[in-house]
Symmetry: C2
Subunit: 221 residues, 2 copies
């Protein structure tokens, strides 16, 4: 119980750090700022979070914990997979600046394993051969993380109603941009694009389940 108390303090520090990063950006996330928010001296954080690097690792843990409830086991495999994917993207919008940490830092915490396990389970239920499961998991998680980050980090160029603009920025050497000037002038619908990408990946997944495979996986190897 006393141990739960010390863990609670650590949580308090991490949530304060996460809130601060979300409000003022990753650059503003200093030990002193976090300490001030908790109402304590900077050095008081160290027994709880180790050092700043460990604090950042703690933040990705927080993010993963926030994502974990989406990994329920109810429903068809593709609705489960879609739920996890959408939760991943929603997380990016909720934590625009800290989301980068998910891609920058390797996470092998229990929560991370549980999340991956949920995706593994969905792919197995889909009938994907075991040898392909880890690879396809990486494919969809890369899409979810990469797309969401690109969206909130400002990669993905904005549409410019004045056509040819981007083509001219390249010194005129952008013929395909010119050919696409009509569609490039229209603003993108990121919600729809994310779903479309997800649809494509679903087709990829089903394309890998052997035709004779049984629907339920308890029929064994």
């Amino acid at each position: 119980m006393a141990e739960q108390g010390v863990e609670a303090r650590r949580r308090e520090i991490l949530t304060a750090a996460l809130a601060l990063a979300d409000e003022r950006g990753l650059d503003a996330l200093s030990m002193r700022a976090v300490a001030a928010r908790v109402g304590v001296t900077p050095m008081a954080l160290y027994p709880h979070v180790g050092n700043k690097d460990a604090l950042l690792d703690g933040l990705v843990d927080l993010l993963l914990a926030e994502l974990l409830p989406a990994a329920g086991t109810a429903g068809q495999w593709h609705v489960r997979l879609r739920a996890i994917a959408h939760a991943g993207r929603a997380l990016a919008h909720r934590h625009r600046t800290t989301y980068l940490l998910l891609l920058a830092r390797p996470a092998v915490t229990p929560d991370a394993v549980r999340l991956v396990d949920a995706i593994y389970g969905a792919l197995l239920d889909a009938g994907v051969p075991e040898a392909q499961v880890p690879r396809l998991e990486r494919l969809v998680s890369t899409f979810v993380l990469g797309f969401s980050l690109g969206e909130v980090a400002g990669r993905f160029p904005p549409a410019d109603p004045r056509r040819h603009d981007r083509a001219e920025a390249a010194g005129g050497a952008a013929p395909a941009h010119q050919e696409l000037s009509a569609v490039l002038a229209q603003p993108a619908d990121w919600d729809a694009e994310f779903d479309a990408g997800l649809d494509d990946l679903m087709h990829v997944i089903t394309s890998h389940v052997p035709p004779a495979a049984p629907v339920h996986r308890q029929s064994g190897r």
Copy 2:
């Protein structure tokens, strides 16, 4: 010509910064360290690169410039696309720490546009409808960037020959990991996995070209 001189100095600074980051990591990339490598006082960098943020932007420019030669226009559309993708992954291995900047910072420089344009061109040549081209470009570039980063940043958990280990790390609540313990014990072949992902994306692309579409795009809209 004198103006070329000042540009040359900027280039010299940026290449020094890139080399330093590659050798000692992004954290070691300080203005003072870059200045020392160039053989100059820290403040002497500022007229050339603006400030540290702009210097980092300059680094992604350097990376893109290094990637650009892969965007040739020769060959079938799918060999061109594969060439760009492989170049993107090779770039990640050459610049393990700085590669993150490509995902973290939006790039709308001329070189970036030229690169995207090459992908647009390949997709158009494949017969993809114009409305789908930008989306599919983002899909493949997200895969290339995200996968390569995941690889060099240490996301993607390593294989552990001692089975069940990762499942146990999750408190036993990782049934799919247990079911997959055989395949999870084997080391992954990232080269093969990248190519497999690329194959999948190629199928996605061709699945979007209408059956009646002509092979050559100069036949018009």
